[in-house]
Amino acid sequence: MATITAENDQAALADSAVPEAVVVRFAGDSGDGMQLTGGQFTLSTALAGNDLSTFPDFPAEIRAPQGTLFGVSAFQINFGSSEITTAGDAPDVLVAMNPAALKVNVQALKPGGLIIADTGEFNKRNMEKAKYESSPFEDGSLAKWEVMAFDISALTLEAVKPFGLGNKEALRCKNMWTLGLSLWMFDRDRQPLIDWLNGKFAKNPVLAQANIAALNAGHAYGETAELAGPLKKLHLDPVPSAPGLYRTITGAEAVSLGLVAGAQLADLPMFFGGYPITPASAILHNLVKMKEFGVTTFQAEDEIAAICSAIGASYAGQLGVTSSSGPGIALKGEAMGLAIMTELPLVIVNSQRGGPSTGLPTKTEQSDLYQAIYGRNGDAPMPVIATRSPSDAFECAIEACRIATEYMTPVMLLTDGYIANASEPWKVPDPASFTPFPKTFLEETNNPDGKVLPFKRDEKGARPWIKPGTPGLMHRIGGIEKAIDTGNIDYSPAVHQSQTDARTDKVAGIAKGIPAQEVTLGEASGKLAVVGWGSTYGPIHQAVRRARRKGLDVHHIHVRHVWPMPTNFGELLAGYENVLVPEMNTGQFKTVLRDQYLIDAVPLNKVSGQPFAIAEIEAAIATFFDAVPGNEGGEVPVNEGQLPSPEAHND
């Protein structure tokens, strides 16, 4: 999200014929190229200077059978002339490339919203597959929306005719035709896209030309169709953002770049051990291309080998990193315990998805919080950091590297499927603006009496890092309980008590080295604090912003360091009469807060695989205030059964 001043925020309140933001959803078959269309539309939006947030929503199957309801792939983008933090609740515009895409997505569309549909795909067979008994264009079922239905397939075929493509190849250009129309609607420059197509099809200029022709034809269609019908050209001014260089970034890209930057700041080569898993694989794909930064990547035989190789590399003096999603993180659990026991630095990235088990591989959830904080055998404390957005992920990854090396500990970095795939504009930071935290290795014995003491702790409780290969410092480490200082095997009662305490104190002490918890929006006390972590940032922030506009005493707190938490956090929370915790799980952070601070945190839970809508959190906030409508406009259906009942102190 772009940064924005409070004055601007207020200015945006002024009513205007031009909306502050527009939500567009592209939906089609998983083979229709909707993610690509969305991605290119995102880029053109960013280049136009609008703030934006996206939500790619695709099936778990590579190519689900054509035309089926479960094969629908969608890409939603929210963009506008003011700060955007979510992909938007309900679309203003739905582009439906086939009957199934219309069926799956139309209910989400705002009343009065615009449907653009390709009638060329609404044949009997496709309508049957989408379970339509009659044509939705004729039976009145779309009455509450504006409909622009025309034969995009035929128009595309016509546009690319001069290039002599086969029917199948020609129809593949449909997404460019649609994109051309969309670019016209929002007054966008086509040139960056034309450049991109020329680059992408450099080896096949005919395909490049055909796609460009389709793009231009879609654009021209807009010009003509504007004269009659609901299609209107809409120009959204650029968002006023801080000066500087910008690019779009996804969470997976930001994590990868942050890890590289973190290793550089620690003055260490990085070793990344990974195993393919959705939605974490993108990080491995990215890092493979960054070897000039001292990055070694290793695609291991399984999740266990991925983390074990990373720990091995850490032992040998590199910054070990591994990444996965919930099921893979479960497999890595035992090795995490070893990294805790041997006190070696390690960064573990968890791109959370819906669970348990295989769960919802391509959908988002925040249900691995317990696993991150508690999910290991024995007393195995480990710091946990949660990213709140794609651009925030960069800083979080650096912070994970800092803590790992400074405290000689594994660190879990939590992101999720939504953050990993979503993109937003990012103000490119200056690497020099980050304080380096170079790590040094023990080169000579730390024992006046001679023999090295590999487990002699410093003032932070961290042990020295000794690289194998260093003469005279030979030592052995392992997972068995160890004597103080020497690290020799020793599981006598007093030693285990003392070492367990030392490991616990070390991790708890990390809180002293992190920034105090700030109030993200609002004041440090009041009637209601909405406390979140991770990717709920956007909807919470917007919901609190709207509630505050209504004059409600509501405040937003967003936590990055979920374990250990900032030292002032308990006192801060005590300043509010109520604490509401929206989470995409069944109430995990709520329980942690109750446990740590003995406060009556109220949960708001959603586990549908979809991010929170702003309206859902607004409705929950309203339950804490008398006579305040919680669901203004009724644009989004809110599940009343999920809303908290503050009086009942329910769970």
């Binding site: 590289v260 550089q264 000039e292 190789s309």
Partner: protein, 346 residues
């Protein structure tokens, strides 16, 4: 093995101040001594020597060798070793594992470290039993092994570590046993091989599987039941009175009598460590009708994993500089000018 300047050490230099905690009479003591005796012979440098192990009796090994050591988790030593070797290819990496650690819980990692051909020595102590967990049958236990989990005798068909290693693509296979005088020479050969060197060491578990290997390791039968493979020499045993010959009808090995030392006349095969087919036949020979093949069975180096990783890195970074500013601003970017932003914010 890896290139290193030979260092002068003695057996004593390789002993740690830790009390060795194996059962009295355990075969592990003999293996430990053989390793400590071998390291000075090969000129190993304690600072560059790295022992990595998993879990089990054998895996306590690193605590007793005065070098760098990592006692990891059950079955995963090859994965740790891979990270260690990729991070620092100068280290001489020894993996110590057992039949449970390396063939059962860690079978997957054994397979992959061998197929990738990481430069390291893998010593698999095979005692055909779970020792540390008190005597359950293991994946190499012979059918009928009685144990706490198989009171009526085991019925699993056992795995053959050397056949498994060959099937996984190993480029060096050797066999020895704990108290054998030839163990040190076998270790020297394993160390001399560049790439993953797999050594199965039969080890006597004095408590749970006592004298299991006596049918070939005991003094009285050693001559008749042990066949030591030597490069370029005929595959003879029983003091040269018997040998292995190829049965052309069945394309398999057969035992033949050698009269008056004339092994050529008996058609005895000359051992060639680069002959993969022969290696397969030697490790698959059923013991009893055939002797136990010991020594270096197969030794045919191939490019190492860490070598390939280094070559790939060179290709990948060619012409690139590590410019973080450039990396961060990759792709399509746009600039918000200070004047414009200021104007809008007023």
């Amino acid at each position: 093995m890896n290139d290193m300047t030979p260092i002068q050490t003695t057996l004593k230099d390789w002993e740690t101040d830790q009390e060795v905690r194996w059962c009295p009479g355990c075969g592990d003591y003999a293996i430990l001594k053989a390793v400590q005796r071998t390291l000075p012979i090969i000129g190993a440098d304690p600072a560059k020597t790295m022992f990595v192990s998993g879990i089990g009796c054998s895996s306590r090994f690193p605590y007793y060798v005065e070098s760098y050591g990592f006692h990891t988790i059950h079955g995963r030593a090859p994965a740790f070793a891979t990270g260690i070797k990729l991070a620092n290819p100068e280290l001489d990496v020894w993996i110590v594992t057992g039949d449970g650690d390396g063939m059962s819980i860690g079978g997957n990692h054994t397979m992959h470290v061998l197929r990738r051909n990481l430069d390291c020595q893998i010593l698999l102590f095979n005692n055909e039993i779970y020792g540390l967990t008190k005597g359950q049958f293991s994946p190499t236990s012979r059918p009928g092994t009685t144990s706490p989990t198989t009171p009526l005798g085991s019925y699993d068909r056992p795995a053959s570590p050397c056949a498994f290693a060959l099937g996984s693509g190993a480029r060096f296979i050797a066999r020895a046993y704990d108290v054998s005088k030839e163990l040190s020479n076998t270790l020297i050969a394993a160390h001399a091989h560049r790439g993953a060197a797999f050594v199965e060491i039969f080890q006597n578990c004095i408590v749970y599987n006592k004298d299991r290997f006596d049918d070939f390791a005991a003094k009285g039968v050693a001559d008749t039941m042990q066949l030591w493979c030597k490069q370029g020499e005929p595959l003879l045993f029983a003091k040269g009175t018997k040998g292995l010959s190829l049965d052309l009808d069945t394309l398999s090995l057969k035992v033949v009598d050698v009269v008056d030392g004339d092994w050529q006349a008996a058609g005895v095969v000359v051992h060639n460590v680069k002959n993969r087919g022969l290696a397969h036949m030697l490790v698959e020979m059923p013991f009893g009708p055939f002797p136990m093949a010991l020594g270096v069975i197969y030794d045919d180096p191939a490019p190492t994993f860490e070598g390939s990783v280094a070559i790939e890195r060179q290709k990948s970074v060619a012409g690139k500089t590590a410019d973080l500013t450039k990396l961060l601003s990759k792709g399509q970017t746009w600039t918000v000018e200070p004047e414009a932003a200021h104007g809008l914010m007023d």
